[in-house]
Amino acid sequence: MMKHWAIAASAAALAVTWSAPDAAAQKSKDTLRVAWQYTVENVDNYFNTNREGILFSRMVWDTLVDRDPKTFKTIPNLATSWKWADDRTLEMELRQGVKFHNGEEFDADDVVFTLNWISNPENKVINQSNVSWIEKVEKLDKFKVRIISKKPFPAALEFLTIPIVMYPNEYYAKVGPKEMGLKPIGTGPYKVTKIEPAKEYTLERWEGHFEGGSKPHAKIKNIVIRTIPEMSTQIAELLAGGIDWAWYVPTDQADRLERVPSLKVDRSETMRTGYIGFDASNRTSNKAINDVRVRQAIAHAIDRDAIIKNLIGGASRKIHAPCFPTQFGCDDSVATKYEYDPAKAKKLLADAGYANGFDLDFYAYRPRDWAEAIMGYLTAVGIRPKLQHMTYIAVRDKNHEGVTPMYFMDWGSYSINDVSALLPNFFGGSPDDFARDADVQKWLAAGGSTVDEKVRKENYSNAIKRITERAYWLPMFSFVTNYAYTKDLDFTPFADELPRYYLYGWK
């Protein structure tokens, strides 16, 4: 009897709690209310560094070429065709009839101005490696330009697809980054109606958007984006009908939000790869980790399948090579595969002389339960890990100082589908390099300095084989991004973690 009463009471509570929020009202107002956790401090595309900044850029500005989100092929956008004149020269034809939000016409002047401005180090663009490859840009005709890189740069087209957007030359020359951050002007499907910097952004569909590019006209009229730093508040707002879309929802909460009738949840695999890095070059004072057998032992000690199944969920997959499987050069077949085998791990540790285990500082910044799960597996084979959980920047700082014997990090490659956006950073001899392997450095340099695909693949495969053999890294899994949104929204997630708001409409 008690049971029935309790069931009835909880059903009533559920009905009251999660009855359909007024999503109909938002649909009728044609406004999508989006929540982001991280602030875009300056919406000027060249002066912010987080993913949300890219999302904003894609709504307001356009790139010369774009990427098909499903096939990852390069497709025309503001440039209609292009060809490589030689190893360093790219010639592009531009689209005609495109206008900026303020009425300015788009032509070669804008391209020349934008690219020359951003590649000039005096202008202090934040992500220099996105722009420093450009030597100069010349105008060939009103709708034709020539881009010259300093050295042969095979990934040039990749870099022109996402991070480099075209600014209106007359407007930008007049107002500079300060005003562009407060009153952005671009060619994209949305124009900005109001900005409360770092707090709230209001965008409206622009009726003068050009035809034929990679982005269609926007379907939803208004988009309001608010920065809500606390995830539990975002979940509360989703439940109460205060916002319509959120992402990076933790897996457990995504599972539960799915059961709420007014919401939908999508889990999408991304290009972001998680990995455990080890000090294999004696940079830290931890002697044990320098021994390849110890690193291999750790690789065998962690049950990646269990972590993926229980903690990550969705379409995450275990990866063996230190890159994302679709990236050019990411050869899974040559990678050494470490299966979950705690007995073998213990034996390897004993062989290396650590039958009684050893102490280990473990640095991480991602969700604590992932770090704790990893530590649990280490404890089970006798190792004594101590967690140092800090912010991403703090861990990276400690990396560079060389005090991190073991660390759990991840890399999104800036969504660039080429291993040259990942491997040279971590195995190319920089302070991020804990392997200091001269051969690997040589192969990576060779792979990045030619456009011959066969040569590149061969070099990268050699590097991957060495890296996994000697367990410089233990590649863990691909990250899954969880999206939660109102069921009235027709939404599709993409593997490059870049929601394209102009593609979505109401159901």
Binding site: M2, K3, N310, R368, D369, E372, A373, G376, L387, H389
Partner: protein, 311 residues
Amino acid sequence: MATTSTLFGPGRLSPEQMLAPSPTALLRRRIFGHRSLMFGALVLGLMLLMGLGAWFIAPHDPYAQSLATRRLPPIWHAWFWDDPKATWNHVLGTDKVGRDYLSRLIYGARISLLIGVATMLLSGIIGTTLGILAGYFGGRVDLVVTFLITTRLSMPVVMVALAVVALYGSSLEVVILVLGFLLWDRFAVVMRSVTMQARSLDYVTAAQAIGCSTPYILLREILPNILNSLVVVATVEMANAILLEAALSFLGLGVQPPLPSWGLMLSEAKEDMFFSPWMITLPGICLFLLVLSINLLGDGVRDVTAPENRN
């Protein structure tokens, strides 16, 4: 409570005083008659026992994790909602990596009490010393202490905690040191003002007049008079430290997992609070009871030892 100064030897009792109950008996009567004091002492005592005897009481190892049995619901889910996953083996369920929740709550008492006591002692020693010195000597000493207090107040706790954690990582020791070296301001302010008042009392000036040494005066005359306020501030700061640790854990600057601190458990459960409300309610209630009992104890001690200060 001591109505006669020790300076002139044990006080001579009048006939009325000799027939009345002894001061200690009176005190005992007052203590046991004070209901909130008893409640506070009882709860605090229970928590202390729980913390000390955790090894015996807790059903499981609070650190033992098992991904296969993660996020089990508490036992009442089996009663009301027929959930087969709820078992008596884990009465209050398990957390995100499969550790027994009840065991973590029990061990959590240790961490919270440790943080409270250690921080209170550290900040108490610093603040009381500074406060007494400033209040007694005045002049330049007072100016220096005022400078220190104002400097300390201008540096927000969160900011210092963030910087220290970025430099040294966060851990139990770091939390205690950071809080201990930051929370002394109220001790200093209160002790300073109380000392200033005590300094001008008759028997203190008399002691000075007959030439007693300064340390003697500080220890034997001033200290007993300000003990009352000291106890009150100590309990307030202990409660404060425990709550601040919870706030630091919320911001990610508190103790590190897998330590079972109630503040950390609260912070870990916040995203889940709509779907698994027990995970955030239970540690919250534990913290609440602990802090409440400390406050009641402090209030009670003050009431009982100096009823004229009752406010």
